[in-house]
């Protein structure tokens, strides 16, 4: 293990700024996530929470500040970045399963090509993961043949197959039909219970209440509050958060 940059943080963001042209989407973000911690990031649309999530594995570049995973600073490009990304699982809003590969291949491709795991071993581990998320019997199918909820669970299995140190979820349930949201959340809650370090951008307040260790509330590119779910939902400090929560609760 390398020496860690800031205490025992697995993911650490220090003074991170990002602009899209004139728009200042991330304003001086400081965030530390410890090993085993589940951090839920919530906030209104356009508050920069997805950008924050994507910046952590450098799908979005940042203008200044630094991001470190397990003490290692995010490399610029190339092989080093690829290595680091292998340790960071990512689950997207739109699943992004490889459309030309079967469900099983979707899960085994990373381990085989990136980690050079033997195909037999990779297949066995992938099947175990697919069983765990409840889609084992779909293994030979193509992604388009599965429902959204099933596809997202496969996407979680694909990320887990790399045995990541941390999992990022970028609005994992926002593209799902209501009746499929729970099957995905159940998998995520299970994962949280098993001690996975997770950063979850979501609108599911129920999940935040049930599984989060901390809730980070973002607005206009800033982290406005960082509290336990209990504290945040019962006694929000900022007017911005109060406003946001009141809009949610009226429906």
């Amino acid at each position: 293990m390398t020496t860690q940059a800031s205490g025992d943080a697995l993911v650490s963001l220090n003074g991170v700024n990002k602009h899209y042209g004139q728009l200042h989407v991330l304003k001086d973000i400081n965030l530390q996530v410890k090993k085993g911690e589940v951090v839920v990031v919530i906030g209104p649309s356009g508050s920069g929470k997805s950008t924050l999530c994507r910046a952590i594995n450098r799908l979005e570049t940042i203008d200044d500040g630094d991001i470190a995973i397990d003490g290692k600073k995010l490399p610029e490009e190339g092989k080093d970045l690829a290595h680091l990304r292998a340790d960071v699982g990512m689950v997207f809003q739109s699943f992004n399963l490889f459309a030309h590969k079967t469900i099983l291949e979707n899960v085994t491709l990373g381990p085989i090509k990136v980690k050079k795991v033997a195909k037999g071993t990779a297949d066995k581990e992938a099947m175990a993961l697919l069983e765990r998320v409840g889609v084992g019997h779909q293994a030979p199918k193509l992604p388009a043949q599965l429902s959204g909820g099933q596809q997202q669970r496969v996407a979680i299995a694909r990320a887990l197959a790399m045995k990541p140190k941390v999992m990022l979820f970028d609005e994992p349930t926002s593209a799902l039909d209501p009746e499929m949201i729970n099957e995905v959340l159940d998998v995520m809650i299970q994962l949280a219970k098993e001690g996975m370090t997770m950063i979850v951008v979501t609108h599911e307040m129920g999940f935040a209440r049930k599984a989060a260790d901390r809730v980070v509330f973002m607005a206009d590119g800033q982290i406005v509050e960082d509290a336990t779910p209990e504290e945040f939902f019962t006694n929000p400090k900022s007017t911005r958060a109060k406003d946001f929560l009141s809009k949610l609760l009226t429906h």
Binding site: L59, A82, F98, V114, Q145
Partner: protein, 216 residues
């Protein structure tokens, strides 16, 4: 008509040479064109710039000038070759590669960006993302324009006939002189042999298109 039948050996020889020029140039152009397209989407600015420069120059220059350059200028610069076929292959493949690069690039752009993001997220390098995820999915949209380009290549190879290569068109000119009263038949014969290559290419396109269809 009897002139065509009497000249069948010449036609056959020309047909084989046209086929040879097309196949060799086609393979080289496919490889070079795909590499150019990969450079064009790579994270390295210098590679992107080179690819763009090459494509713009090669596809905007008349083929005859590229042939002239390959057959006459290159030897003066010290690139020697025994036969003019080599010059023809150089000219045809460097010209066609530019078009193939553009077709492949548009195919790459047709693959949703999330596919590449997901592949990068599991730790794949740029070449792995392109080779395992993006290009296999791009094939589907690329095949029809690619076949168009290859058909154009077969017909473009006739320019070689003006540069001392006796392929179909070269023989066509020669036979037109020999049978001055049957030029129409001679040229129809030439066209027929070109169709013998280009029509199966079109059929192949249909076949491959159905084979590589991906459901989304």
């Amino acid at each position: 008509m009897d002139a065509v039948i009497a000249s069948l050996p010449e036609y056959w020889d020309g047909f084989l040479r046209t086929l040879y020029l097309s196949v060799i140039s086609g393979i080289i152009a496919l490889i070079v064109g795909t590499l150019l397209a990969a450079m064009r989407v790579s994270p390295v600015a210098a590679l992107r710039g080179f690819s763009m420069f090459y494509v713009e120059v090669a596809r905007n220059t008349p083929l005859t000038i590229i042939f002239f350059f390959a057959a006459i200028v290159l030897p003066r610069l010290g690139v020697k070759f025994e036969q003019f076929e080599v010059a023809a292959i150089i000219a045809l493949s460097s010209y066609t590669a530019a078009f193939i690069a553009e077709a492949v690039r548009s195919g790459v752009n047709s693959v949703p960006v999330g596919q590449a993001e997901a592949a990068r997220s599991v730790g794949m390098t740029f070449t792995q993302v392109l080779g395992f995820i993006v290009l296999p999915q791009a094939v589907r949209t690329v095949v029809p324009p690619l076949i168009n380009i290859l058909i154009a290549l077969v017909k473009n190879s006739s320019v070689a006939g003006a540069f001392f290569v006796l392929e179909l068109f070269g023989y066509g000119r020669q036979l037109s002189n020999d049978y001055g009263n049957q030029v129409l038949w001679i040229l129809l014969g030439v066209a027929f042999f070109y169709l013998l290559i280009t029509v199966p290419l079109g059929l192949l396109a249909h076949f491959v298109e159905r084979k590589v269809a991906i459901a989304r």
